[in-house]
């Protein structure tokens, strides 16, 4: 029974991490840039949801679209401030600019909202369900459902819509896309907006169960980076698999070994993957695309 309980907790945590990693992969694919501010965008989404909750006392489900819209706006600002002016510079310039934006977000949130940990409202209800002896937080089910919807929605947009085709074209070869009439700059901005919206969703979902502080972003970006490295640089299914693997170590392995040892085992696994399968678990797709 405990194993089932831990499995359920691990899936919910992995789903939230997947949303963090997904936004990271989107920007990576569209621009080739590593957006180190993604973790702080998740933090900002969580703080935003927590700050809006007293003003709009509605369930998190109704708050979610507003958080997505505001975060998308923040993503647009991020692209204008930290990516577009530097896109023709060496990649390290964007690394640094996104790190700087992340620090500014952390300190800005501390100044504007205070340093206290905060909790966002639950998506539907904050209670727990008793399913044959399993204690299932409603928020855990909501996290899994929202993550599945957003990931499925993204696959649909990318696979079946004109916008998705333009986004993919921009990601694969911006010069050729531009030659074919694709508004590459607009597509890049749309990608940043989408990635920030994902971060907002992840922030709202994580901040209810696990709370959020202004400094939470650093750990989240590390998780996203590891998930993407494990899954395959640029692979969406790989990012999801990597996120679930991290959660497996954090919840499953740590229930047998201690938490610090479980984290150590995760990093040893990461090292082994880098040595024996440097393209990551789902790296084939990325290599073919490249």
């Amino acid at each position: 029974m405990l194993a089932l309980q831990l499995l359920l907790n691990g899936i919910a945590l992995g789903a939230a991490y997947a949303l963090v990693a997904l936004g990271f992969v989107l920007v990576l694919n569209a621009t080739g840039a590593v957006n180190f501010a993604q973790g702080d965008l998740v933090m900002a989404g969580g703080i935003l949801a927590a700050a809006l909750a007293p003003l709009l006392p509605v369930p998190g489900l109704l708050l979610l679209p507003l958080v997505l819209a505001l975060m998308a706006g923040l993503g647009l600002l991020l692209s204008l401030a930290a990516y577009l002016p530097l896109r023709h510079r060496p990649p390290v310039a964007v690394f640094i600019s996104t790190i700087a934006v992340g620090i500014m977000l952390q300190n800005g949130v501390t100044v504007l909202f205070g340093p206290e940990p905060r909790a966002a409202p639950p998506l539907l209800g904050g209670g727990t369900l008793d399913l044959a002896g399993l204690v299932v937080p409603e928020q855990s089910l909501a996290i899994v459902a929202v993550a599945a919807l957003l990931i499925g929605g993204q696959q649909w947009v990318f696979g079946r819509t004109q916008l998705g085709r333009r986004l993919r074209a921009t990601a694969q070869d911006p010069e050729m896309a531009r030659a074919c009439g694709v508004p590459v700059t607009a597509m890049v901005m749309a990608t940043f907006a989408l990635a920030a919206a994902y971060a907002g969703a992840a922030g709202l979902l994580l901040a209810n169960q696990f709370f959020v502080t202004p400094t939470a972003g650093g750990d989240l970006i590390l998780k996203a980076y590891i998930a993407v490295t494990i899954g395959g640089w640029g692979s969406v299914p790989g990012a999801v698999a990597g996120a679930l693997l991290i959660a497996l170590f954090e919840v499953g392995v740590s229930s047998v070994l201690s938490y610090p040892v479980a984290l150590g085992a995760l990093y040893v696994t990461l090292l082994a993957i880098l040595v024996f399968r440097p393209q990551g678990l789902f790296g084939e797709v990325a290599r073919r695309r490249a």
Binding site: L2, Q5, L6, N9, G10, L13, Q106, N107, T110, G114, P115, E116, P117, R118, A119, T128, V135, P137, L206, Q209, F210, F211, T213, P214, T215, D219, E250, V251, G252, S254, S255, S258, Y259, P260, L263
Partner: protein, 375 residues
């Protein structure tokens, strides 16, 4: 030209007027950003509230607040800059141990007392006469923590869950030593990373060791997370948490029912009241900062008031303030402060408990004159 003339006239009028109050400086150098911003903000607020209060007669004590972030270099730079301005008689200094350790040699060079609420034991073990800690160290608070568990609750099989940070390791060491001295057997202990998001694994392993009490020494967020998961899983083993639990920002994360029966150690709990003076401090703090005070804010407030009292009694130099802090006694709001000869001013702790209907805990036990020694 006209503006310059007006300025000259104004300064002339001021200097020709009645005798001006002497201005002394007490800068506030604390971490307002970074991982310790919550506690650092409390520290800042406590110092600022004290300095905004009644000033010593004939003296104006001015202050600058500087964010030291979390790096020792930033703290040292802030201290150097602050000491370069006017007559600095004391500094409200960072509660971050690594920053304090970096600032201590500079304080000794410049001969200026540092007034802090840092819990890091080693800052008062350097033989530096310029540091004064207005918050009980782990040796003191963990003595109260363990004694409450063993002597008041009658528990003998504690499971200890602590943070893997320096804060957590220090608390674990003191708890282990204290439980051993009290004859209690620690049946399980594990360190948890502050970034851990699911504490069910450690909770289930701790319960498997069949403890009769769960003893926590975690930061604010992890404490709330642990209590929430324990409540969701119907854990009936009593929980006695560390001082992070008493912080109003921790209680704000939980429903009162999730805290039912939970107790915690702390230096003080201003929101719990206890005296008209404490109630006034809490009301003033809320009015000034729009938030609830915690023990860090109160400790820094008391420490700053002791400096102001020394100035009111005639101390006009850093050396005179140091002597007053080293040899004097101060009846603060949280406790009576007196140096043990190494700069440890606080020797009391309280236990607070939550009744499940409110986020404001009740003080159930007070421990005074704690030595922090098992010998």
């Amino acid at each position: 030209m006209r503006r310059s003339l007006a300025f000259l006239l104004l300064t002339g009028i001021i200097s020709a007027g009645p005798a001006r109050a002497e201005t002394l400086n007490m800068p506030v150098l604390v971490p307002l950003t970074g991982f310790l911003s919550l506690e650092g903000t409390s520290q800042r607020n406590g110092a600022v509230l004290a300095l905004r209060g009644a000033q010593p007669p004939g003296v104006t004590v001015a202050t600058d607040v500087v964010d030291t972030g979390t790096s020792p270099e930033a703290a040292v730079t802030a201290l150097e800059r602050a000491l370069g301005r006017g007559t600095t008689v004391a500094v409200a200094a960072s509660m971050l141990g690594t920053q304090m350790l970096a600032m201590l040699p500079l304080a000794a060079d410049y001969k200026v007392p540092l007034v802090t609420v840092s819990g890091t034991a080693s800052i008062t073990e350097q033989g530096n006469p310029w540091v004064f800690r207005f918050f009980p160290g782990d040796a003191v608070t963990k003595e109260a923590h363990a004694r409450y568990v063993v002597e008041e609750l009658g528990k003998r099989r504690p499971a200890v869950i602590y943070q893997t940070t320096a804060y957590g390791q220090s608390g674990r060491a003191h708890l282990a030593e204290r439980f051993r001295a009290l004859g209690a057997e620690v049946v399980y202990e594990e360190g948890v990373d502050p970034a851990a998001r699911d504490l069910l694994p450690v909770l289930s392993k701790a319960l498997a060791a069949r403890p009769d009490v769960l003893v926590l020494h975690l930061h604010s967020g992890p404490t709330a997370l642990f209590l929430r998961q324990a409540a969701a899983h119907g854990v009936e083993v009593p929980i006695v948490a560390g001082s992070a639990m008493h912080q109003p920002s921790t209680a704000a994360l939980l429903d009162p029912a999730e805290m039912k029966g939970v107790c915690a150690e702390t230096a003080a709990s201003p929101v719990s009241g206890g005296s008209p003076e404490m109630d006034r401090f809490t009301a003033d703090y809320r009015a000034a900062f729009g938030t609830e005070p915690d023990a860090f804010a109160l400790g820094q407030y008391d420490g700053t008031r002791m400096v102001l009292d020394a100035i009111a009694r005639g101390a006009r130099t850093a050396e005179a303030v140091r002597a007053a802090l080293a040899d004097g006694t101060h009846e603060g709001l949280a406790m009576t402060y007196r140096s043990d000869g190494t700069g440890n001013m606080a020797h009391s702790a309280v236990i607070v408990c939550y009744d499940g209907t409110s986020r404001v805990p009740q003080v159930v036990r007070r421990y005074d004159a704690l030595s922090g020694s098992t010998r």
